[in-house]
């Protein structure tokens, strides 16, 4: 029974930590827009925590390059499991317009496993919220929950 309650908690309270891998700042601002009263993601129990040790979901925006891939990996490793990663924006998904640049590694999935991709340049706040919901659906099927 306790296991069931814990699973319910996992679905209802995804705390996000937000890491910006050198994006143009467009996707970044859209992520923060989700926190504003218009979109108010706190009503789904989502809190933006600044600390990977408290977070369940890692939101990554921007292109991964040779410099920040270590930082990204480090942040990912510091998050206690179970955890999910969401790549946001064209840059996060594949490298976007910066894909051909000499220092760019590519999408987030080149460095850490990504669960959900949210495309767009920039990704709309609605799409980001959908992305978090999709990640939760994935968690639900993994946990074998039906409701």
């Amino acid at each position: 029974m306790l296991g069931n309650m814990i699973n319910k908690g996992r679905i209802k309270s995804p705390w996000v930590v937000h890491f910006d891998c050198g994006s143009c700042n467009g996707c970044d601002i859209e992520v923060l827009a989700c926190l504003t009263p218009i979109y108010d993601i706190e009503r789904f129990g989502i809190i933006n925590v600044g600390n990977p040790k408290h977070a369940d979901v890692l939101l990554v925006t921007g292109t991964v390059n040779q410099r920040n891939k270590h930082v990204l990996k480090n942040i990912y490793d510091q998050m206690p499991g179970p955890k999910a990663v969401i790549a946001i924006g064209a840059c996060g998904c594949s490298g976007g317009v910066f894909r051909e640049a000499y220092n760019v590694v590519g999408g987030v999935d080149q460095v850490i496993p990504v669960d959900v991709y949210v495309p767009g340049c920039p990704a709309r706040p609605e799409a980001i919220i959908d992305g978090v919901v999709a990640a939760l659906e994935k968690v639900k099927t993994l946990l074998g929950m039906t409701a």
Binding site: N7, L35, P37, R43, P82
Partner: protein
Amino acid sequence: MTKIIIAILALVLAPIAGALISGVDRRVTAWLQSRYGPPILQPFYDVLKLLGKEPMVTNTWQALCAYVYVVGAALSVVLLFTGSDLLLIFFVLTVGAVFLVMGALASPSPYSQIGGQRELLQMLAYEPLLILVFAAIAMVTGSFKVSAVFELSRPMLYDIPLMFIVLGYALTIKLRKSPFDISACHHAHQELVRGVYTEYSGPYLAMIEIAHWYEVILVLGLCGLFWSTSVVGMIVLVVLTYLAEIIVDNVTARLTWRWMLKSAVGMGVVLTIINMLWLYAQ
């Protein structure tokens, strides 16, 4: 026998009530910011999730500190509800708070170091205030026992109204609400990441969260003592105080620790002296 039953009830019901109050707090805060806000049960979901997370500690000392903190908070609630000594409650509470800080200082992370030191400063600000309030209660009742408060024929608020303000000040610092969310803050914009809580994660963070629920109940219980003659009066007083806390939390910005220390101790001493003189003059 009745004391044991009361103790067990306090142990079980206090965190549940504390969590519900935290949920209502978040809802009211959201409403003040014209948002919809999370469900009232949100604090339960958060803690359940944290309990189910992989335990990760930088050293074992830290885990021990989290447990001592929650035991300290729970014990002080039990002591309050069994009508024990106010000074004993104060010491137990302080031991818990000191362990929280020690856990934060046990890791070399600069965020938790600064958070721990700011928490110490916060303790330095609210502990003298609490002692002054307890001393004033003892002057009215003639004893440090909580049970002695319930033998009064009229509410303490008539005799020591200014001490209630001092207590409110101490509570805002103790609950780490704005303008005194100096050592730890979970709002979107965070300068300290999470201050004292930075290095606690997963189940240990859940322990700290539960300890916080106990503290909310302890703090509100102390407020309730000021209208000990009627249950309705107690509830009204507690609800009004907490509502005022939430509103203050929402309309103020964070202040510096220097200002906190100066204003808290300065104001506390002045209000206490006025109140004591008044008590003597009566």
